[in-house]
Subunit: 337 residues, 2 copies
Amino acid sequence: MGNDSERRPPRLEDVAAHAGVSHQTVSRVVNNHPNVSKSTRERVEAAIAELGYRRNTAARSLVTRRSQIIGVLGTELAQYGPANTLLGVQQAAREAGYFVSIAALKESGANSIADAVRYFTDQGADGIIVIVPHDGTVQTLEGLNLDVPVVVVGAGSHGRFSGAMVDQKRGARVAVAHLVGQGHRRIGHISGPRDWIDAAARAEGWREELAAAGLADDLLLEGDWSAASGYRMGQELAATRIATAVFVGNDQMALGLLRAFSEAGVRVPQDVSLVGFDDQPEAAYFTPPLTTVRQDFEELGRRCMDMMRTQIEDGAASSTIVVDPELVVRASTSPLP
Amino acid sequence: MGNDSERRPPRLEDVAAHAGVSHQTVSRVVNNHPNVSKSTRERVEAAIAELGYRRNTAARSLVTRRSQIIGVLGTELAQYGPANTLLGVQQAAREAGYFVSIAALKESGANSIADAVRYFTDQGADGIIVIVPHDGTVQTLEGLNLDVPVVVVGAGSHGRFSGAMVDQKRGARVAVAHLVGQGHRRIGHISGPRDWIDAAARAEGWREELAAAGLADDLLLEGDWSAASGYRMGQELAATRIATAVFVGNDQMALGLLRAFSEAGVRVPQDVSLVGFDDQPEAAYFTPPLTTVRQDFEELGRRCMDMMRTQIEDGAASSTIVVDPELVVRASTSPLP
DNA sequence: GGCATTCTTGTTAGCGCTAACAAGAATGAA
DNA sequence: TTCATTCTTGTTAGCGCTAACAAGAATGCC
């Protein structure tokens, strides 16, 4: 009722006129300022409801210099891990009244990152979350001299930036310990690209746990996270037949290994045991179902956003959050006969 | 360089003073207005470069009533299809100077959609792209009385809204025709949930192609897109052993079937041929590699954004875009002996 | 009751930008 | 030259909001 004259949405002024107060009083009600009398507040709220008033974000941003926008920047944003991290960020952001703007990178070079960061600063983002877990990423960001909080996912605390990570090394050690506990002595590892922080951490965990068990760590092959690369590594492993167990850097490469082994007549787990990493939903339906290390990416994303919020709103210092992974045992591992 | 006194970023006024012109002239240069003399333009551009001026998005939005923000709203945004569609949207958006804001829904009820839409209108989004390909989605949106363009992904043209879709029915027919061509007569179908537009279209295509070949369409089971549901359906099919071929609604369910068949001793493709849908990267590494129907989700997303742009900028009417899928033949199908 | 303190509301200015109008400079046609 | 037309630049107003200050009303304390 009353929205017949103009197409323009109501603004503070309209609500104020409707409630018989000043626009500033309406602003106070909208922003929950304490010093507004009960009766006035109720009158204003009624007017807001009747006119269907909604605060104009652009005007508010202009004066407060806060956009309520968090930029999330990442490579491989369609992959299981990053995609679910993004979802976690989004969920926590929306609950806290923030908006999430995304930028997907084709590659993770410094220019590419700088472009995406500028895209966000142009938008006036209040903070930036980075899901580009490469070695050089943190340095690139440091060179950019940003004046908004940054949270780097998958990296520890790196100087000025906050970090949120799953404890990759620990996950790797648990996986390898599981294999060692089953009597395996020749345990290989298919790692992700060595310049990925996560890949390096998992390889390091594998190495440490082997060392703790007094075993050799000479069976390391480097893949690129894809099933295709896992397939190629699997062919190599099947040809040599040295390893009785393989700790694979992620589930997709494990899928590739499974395929290569199947073609080469190597049975899993009878001939070779396999452990993956991530526990994407499909892993339980591989042939055979994959023993793997579960990471809770959504939780990771939510925690990232929480950290971001305390930095923006309370001016908190940067810090690090570590989430624990969990071994999920299925049928791709079995004790050595 | 003059950036010593204040922390505040430069604005039009600062550039104007630096170049010895009015702020409006700087605005003209920034917005590529034609009537600026060459010499002035160069002087202004030099000042912009020197001061590192960047236009303030909030101020611009306030006065133009354009935010350059596109809201993308969807369920299952971490799944292969939606995630890649989102990436395509993002890519086209960034190239065109737009920002992409996301809202992930836990479920696709009317309230949930209305909340997300309001989230975007609060943000001042210039358009909304919807990846919630349920039956009722379009009706829900129609009830919302939006005054920004809407593009619905995975639906045909529905009245006021634009649609962009892969031709699901055609993909299904090609898949089934492939099986018929191999001599199969009893061809089952595992569909997605029947209230999903895509699931219904694929089932319809399966039915039509069977009818064209004079075959019975009584072997239909409904899953929920997950590998888990494919596994359950696979167990049922393995128990009855009626079908010699199955057209599966997506690759993940096909993975579940593969697992169930493997456990039940049903060999693929010797005993049963299998065709999936989507061609996610892993499908080539299933055991056996999966024959499937490829959808180019990124392309779909890019086309969505293009449509959105012509609607926003040229006031174009709503329309529909259809992208063709493509059959990828691998090792999970073979001629009936 | 008188005065200081708090609570409540209003007034004014300005965030940085673009639209609309205004005006001066340059150009061309007669 | 003269006047109309175009090109170029500047001036003013205002988008919708919040911060800062101001002022009046209500309250407390002695």
